[in-house]
């Protein structure tokens, strides 16, 4: 989406000069942006907008979620799966504040979502009216931009700017707060043909001199590594990444959001790096002489201890956001630009080189530190096995949405993602409760894809009310609950770092299969290996949403693990 960085047309050129209500302006802007699903819940301040949605229901599908947080996460999933903008809506006050976590999540993960919130009518603003909250005041630090629309004549321009800002450059959430009476008023204004924001001109192709310098540095390196981030996916540069790696024989590691941007079964793929990254990916970062960071912000969970991260290595960093360059690592070759366009310029300058000694060394680590070996477990099913079973049964073709915690790490590790937009997870903010609603958005983005929500028991409970949405809307998501009866990641940290003083880590769970059934879903609970595999196979075949309550080992830990504040030298590997 950011490849089309320039000015976006709003598509409303043909819009009639007949008066439109504020609500209709919002609906038209959605359609102009190619968005035909909106997630939300109505309320007093947004009722006029719902009246417009009523008249647009043949063109825009409204999905009634059961908590506004689910609206934001579903819109995030929809945006990530389509590359378009997701749209979520709520009423003023409590409805809007319920979406605050979602905005913070989108900005951390660079996801373009437009939030339409109702506001009390203009004369009431500032009077502490019923359900009034200063939500644009709240959303400033967690959005890319925000608007409080006080004049309906501004709304057509604001809406086209909102979709433009959300989807171009470094995507992010845009919040549009609309007073109730502005939804109702009419305007004959239409959006300008082109969005024109003087203070917003994202770069396109990186600087040519810097691109040449990057090629020189890469060509001269003996032990380069590509660190592939979310930007590859956003910019649609997976093909260019593949060419860069194969032409230069350059191994690739990915960040959590970069998972799948490079085919994970490719011999040059060395998996995910970072705190729970593969040991060999992290070992390689210690030895490399050239880090090629592509669309990554060198997040602390990926980098760990900065002085043990490629010590002495040259750093080439390409990103669309100038503020990310030099923020964490001192950078030798800084390039600001869209990745796809910039890589297209870089590729012809890359010499094909034999890097066998380096690859041999890396493959040696891969052999000696097989981070993905699943140990034998005669008495319990291991959660890793569940992820493997989903991989096997879906033929690696499922879209997987992970929640937060141990389940997230296993879902990233034990499935081989071959394409971008196959693995989704909230990596930056890490909000439990993301997976179920996000999976609904991913499913509605393309219903021909199999969609699996892999969640912990704790995270499921945070947005479990969405079982109702799955049932009511018939959204065909398969939910695999890795039920370890614990806030597993918390339990693991207390085991490792607090000498086993478990506090607030145990979960007294309900029977999730029965809960699912009560919501009208197909729910199955299992605790044996064979049942687990059968259940996954059944869900795979079943035409409709399924909830699998999979009782797994209660105390399994995620390995490898680099203890925060230490380097890769002190990585904890699976002792078994």
């Amino acid at each position: 989406m950011s490849a089309t960085n320039g000015q976006s047309t709003n598509g409303s050129t043909a819009a009639p000069k007949t008066p439109r209500t504020g609500g209709e302006v919002v609906c038209d802007a959605m359609l102009a942006a190619g968005v035909d699903v909106i997630f939300g819940m109505p309320g007093g301040a947004s009722l006029p907008f719902y009246d417009s949605l009523y008249h647009y229901q043949d063109r825009i599908r409204h999905v009634l979620i059961r908590h506004e947080q689910a609206a934001g996460f579903a819109a995030n999933g929809y945006a990530r799966a389509t590359g378009k903008v997701g749209v979520a809506t709520s009423t003023s006050g409590p409805g809007a504040t319920n979406m605050v976590t979602c905005m913070a999540n989108d900005i951390m993960d660079s996801v373009g979502v437009v939030y339409i919130t109702g506001q009390v009518a203009r004369p009431a603003i500032g009077s502490d009216a019923f359900q009034e909250a200063d939500v644009t005041g709240i959303s400033i630090p967690i959005t890319k931009h925000s608007y409080l629309v006080m004049d309906v004549d501004d709304l057509p321009r604001v809406m086209s700017e909102a979709f433009h800002l959300a989807s171009t450059g470094r995507p992010g959430p845009v919040h549009v707060d609309i007073p109730k009476d502005v939804f109702l008023e009419t305007t004959t204004e239409t959006a300008p043909d082109q969005v024109n924001l003087r203070g917003y001109r994202p770069s396109k192709v990186g600087n040519a001199r810097m691109v040449r310098k990057a090629a020189e540095v890469i060509n001269a390196s003996e032990r380069p590594i590509i660190m592939a981030g979310h930007g590859i996916d956003i910019s649609g540069a997976a093909e260019e990444l593949l060419q860069l790696a194969t032409r230069g024989s350059i191994p690739v590691v990915s960040t959590l959001h970069g998972v799948g941007t490079f085919p994970e079964t490719h011999p040059l793929s060395f998996g995910m790096l970072g705190m729970h990254g593969l040991a060999y990916a992290n070992f390689s970062m210690r030895q490399t002489d050239c880090i090629i960071g592509l669309g990554t912000r060198f997040d602390d969970r990926a980098v760990g201890k900065e002085d043990e991260f490629g010590p002495g290595a040259k750093v080439v960093h390409i990103d669309i956001d100038p503020a990310e360059i030099g923020k964490v690592l001192e950078t030798d070759v800084p390039i600001v630009g869209d990745l796809k366009l910039t890589l297209q310029k870089l590729l012809p300058l890359i010499e094909s080189r034999d890097r066998t000694p380096w690859l041999d060394q890396m493959n040696g680590w891969r052999r000696d530190h097989p981070s993905l070996k699943i140990p034998d477990s005669p008495d319990s099913v291991l959660p890793q096995e569940v992820v493997r079973a989903i991989y096997d049964i879906s033929g690696g073709e499922a879209r997987v949405i992970a929640d937060v915690g141990q389940n997230q790490m296993w879902a990233s590790q034990h499935f081989w993602y071959e394409r971008p937009r196959m693995f989704f997870s909230a990596g930056g903010l890490g909000p439990m409760g993301y997976a179920l609603p996000a999976a609904m958005g991913v499913k509605l983005a393309d219903e021909s894809q199999d969609v699996w929500c892999v969640t912990g028991d704790g995270g499921l409970l945070i947005n479990i009310q969405e079982f109702n949405t799955l049932a009511a809307e018939g959204i065909n998501v398969k939910v695999a609950v890795l039920n370890n009866a614990h806030l597993g990641m918390i339990r693991q940290w207390q085991e490792f770092f607090y000498e086993g003083r478990y506090m607030g880590a145990f979960l007294d769970n309900p029977d999730f299969a029965k809960v699912a059934q009560a919501f009208g879903l197909h729910g199955v609970g299992t605790s044996s290996r064979d049942e687990m595999k059968d259940a996954i196979a059944m869900a795979h075949e079943y035409d409709g949403p399924v909830v699998l309550d999979l009782h797994v080992d209660r105390v399994e830990n995620v390995y490898p693990m680099i203890v925060p504040g230490t380097g890769v030298n002190s990585v904890i590997e699976d002792p078994r």
């Binding site: 400033i140 890319k144 409080l148 003087r198 203070g199 917003y200 100038p322 503020a323």
Partner: protein, 172 residues
């Protein structure tokens, strides 16, 4: 250039409600220290000019400039620190003085090219314009007088025309 020093950033921003909140919020959230902030109209209708004195290392201030750029309503940012520029601040200082002490204070004010803008039985108000350092020096010199109130505008700055290549993003 690792030491902390005060940098002068001049930003052109769209004159929208809330723009000051956005800038202030950014500084607070990223932990940048504002020494002073002055806002007023610019030569162009619809745009304001902000002069922000920010404390930090060169790297921190660079990051601060980049984060400012990311605000949609910020059209340009220039770091005038070390560049040929004129910067001024206005201060008004109310000093408690007895009649006998007036000539002494008037003399110092004169040396600093300040102005006495008000006199009462018990106090005088001095208006001082100039570089921030000059105002600071003046305040150092008059420590023997009890100061009742100080009001300072914060620095405003403007680049001189012989400035080399612009330090900030070209205005679009």
């Amino acid at each position: 250039m690792n030491g902390t020093e005060t940098h002068t950033l001049v930003a052109t921003v769209a004159d929208h409600p809330g723009v000051l909140t956005r800038v202030a919020s950014l500084f607070r959230r990223r932990g940048f220290n504002i020494a002073s902030l002055a806002v007023g109209h610019s030569e162009e209708p619809g745009y304001s000019r902000m002069t922000i004195a920010v404390e930090g290392s060169a790297e921190e201030v660079k990051q601060c400039e980049k984060q400012l750029y990311k605000l949609v309503e910020v059209v340009s940012v220039r770091n005038l620190t070390g560049a040929p520029a004129v910067s001024r601040e206005l201060a008004m200082i109310k000093v408690r003085v007895r009649a006998t002490e007036r000539p002494g204070l008037a003399e110092i004010t004169d040396i600093f090219r300040g102005e006495i803008v008000d006199v009462s039985k018990t106090s005088m108000i001095v208006q001082m314009t100039g570089a921030q350092s000059k105002i600071d020096r003046f305040l150092d010199v008059i420590t023997e007088y009890p100061i009742e109130e100080i009001s300072r505008t914060g620095v405003i700055a403007i680049a001189r025309d012989d400035v080399g290549p612009r330090n900030g993003r070209a205005r679009g």
